[in-house]
Symmetry: C2
Subunit: 333 residues, 2 copies
Amino acid sequence: MKKLLLVYGVLIMIFMVYSYNYFSKDPYMNAWDRMDGGLRGEIDEKYVMVTFQIGNEYWKNILKGFEDAAQALNVSVEYRGSTRYDLYEMSTVLEQVIARKPAGIAISAMDAEGLNPAIHKAVEAGIPVVLFDSNAPESDAYVFLGTNNYEAGRTAGHEMGKLLGGKGEVGIITLPNQNNHQERVRGFQAVMKEYYPNIAIVSIKDGKGDKLVSKQAAEDMMRDYPELKAIFTTEATGGVGVGSAVQNYRHIKIISFDTDLGTLDLVKDGTISATLAQGTWSMGYWSLQYLFHLHHRLTQQEMAEVAANPLPPYVDTGITVVTKENVEHFYAK
Amino acid sequence: MKKLLLVYGVLIMIFMVYSYNYFSKDPYMNAWDRMDGGLRGEIDEKYVMVTFQIGNEYWKNILKGFEDAAQALNVSVEYRGSTRYDLYEMSTVLEQVIARKPAGIAISAMDAEGLNPAIHKAVEAGIPVVLFDSNAPESDAYVFLGTNNYEAGRTAGHEMGKLLGGKGEVGIITLPNQNNHQERVRGFQAVMKEYYPNIAIVSIKDGKGDKLVSKQAAEDMMRDYPELKAIFTTEATGGVGVGSAVQNYRHIKIISFDTDLGTLDLVKDGTISATLAQGTWSMGYWSLQYLFHLHHRLTQQEMAEVAANPLPPYVDTGITVVTKENVEHFYAK
């Protein structure tokens, strides 16, 4: 009986020593050694995602990626943002987030310059910042993760070429004052010029990101160009507007952008032939990964002080063509 | 005594139940839940990096990044490659690597098409492949991680503009038949046109990636254009050749590319004013990260089957300008 007691005692001792070693890691070890045996943070390490128009369903899948990465890395996340498309409101939200000193902030820059002072303040205070979806090229943020809009426009161009069998008149409805949308148009035009000389872009109109304005623009186009075969719209709200305009002209094909509910339903019923899905989940997932690496200084140690950037400065999150065949996968789960 | 024995017994039971739960995770759980509490692989999970010219010091820092990621994720790595710049030899090495079914392969494609059959074979066999440094755009690889050469050329252009105070004659020595180098020249030219109308590019010559040929090209340029103020070389071997040509013409400034030992020494002694360092460590580090995510299916589950790409298709690993001020950091540690 005493022998058994001894064996039990030894076993418990071994367990305690093991536990002690496991939990008492030296906090002054270098970052790589501390992470030895897996990338893992602390649950009270909080990363914040900040956007404008917080209710917009576009952000949902980005947040899902952000949360999936947090689960994988054992850290916490929070989602904050302005309710409206309002730079002042968004700056205020960002200032509040910075004041609470989170482990990192991922921002969709609603303005290419307006948030730069707040971003500077965060980085100065040692809070890593990455940008996703919309860039602010002159800011202090470490990385931008988003769609290569020129390439997305090229993808749309190739889809259009296939759809029309390489010939016919097409129109474009876009936002001529927004850089992202200009790039989409530029990529589309380049592919037409290079690969489809028999497709003519006969009209480019401003849809103002509005359903009714885009509908009107599409109707004007169809009236002015009776031979029109298809329309490319560079954003989703316009796409839905164009969709409603062509209800009586079913021979007009549409290629649209993004995957909000209205667009997906029109893809499903065949009104929209194809729409381009952005890599939203990847934007969120890799934003958190990069913030985690910056927070834990998991970058090339000796270079961090001199390199323009200790992380890849740009990540192209890709494009997927959505058609009737795969549309079911894009409805939010 | 019996009471104590009972307490011990209960403690051991608790420990055993805990251990059992800890180690007997259901292999059919989804990937995210399996990773709960940190990204961590198995030590017998082997990832292989494959290049051409295995002895070239350029690969060293990429391998360092690959190894650092492996340490962080608790997996193993191996480095293989062809000794020469030889497509047949490299294909053979790659076939041998594929036959051993590693967890993933990162490849620098020495040819934009020649390795596509081998890459296809690997991906068909369920082995994830990513490409770094040199792309094969039509291959089945999931991701390309490398320098945006057009942007690198623009960075070189801005350095040149500053160096010459915005005016003077410059020459370029490059490899006109290689796409990467054409892009560097294109970016450089674009910046001159856009920002420095008083800088004239008077000559573009082929340095053939050879020290002596580049030296001769530089000497010809200096003779033909006595007003020449500077030379931009798009690759390192040429840069060292140009450096030796200007020993007697110290007023000629040089901007070069990459950070091999010869180039760094010429930056240090002032012969080369600036050279562009590629984000080599990042290429290796993030290649392994992406392979790890593919191997463990840590991508958006429902999208993996339909998305053109479950991961970001392109990662720009960035550029850092190296001058006398920061050159010490770039010597291999």
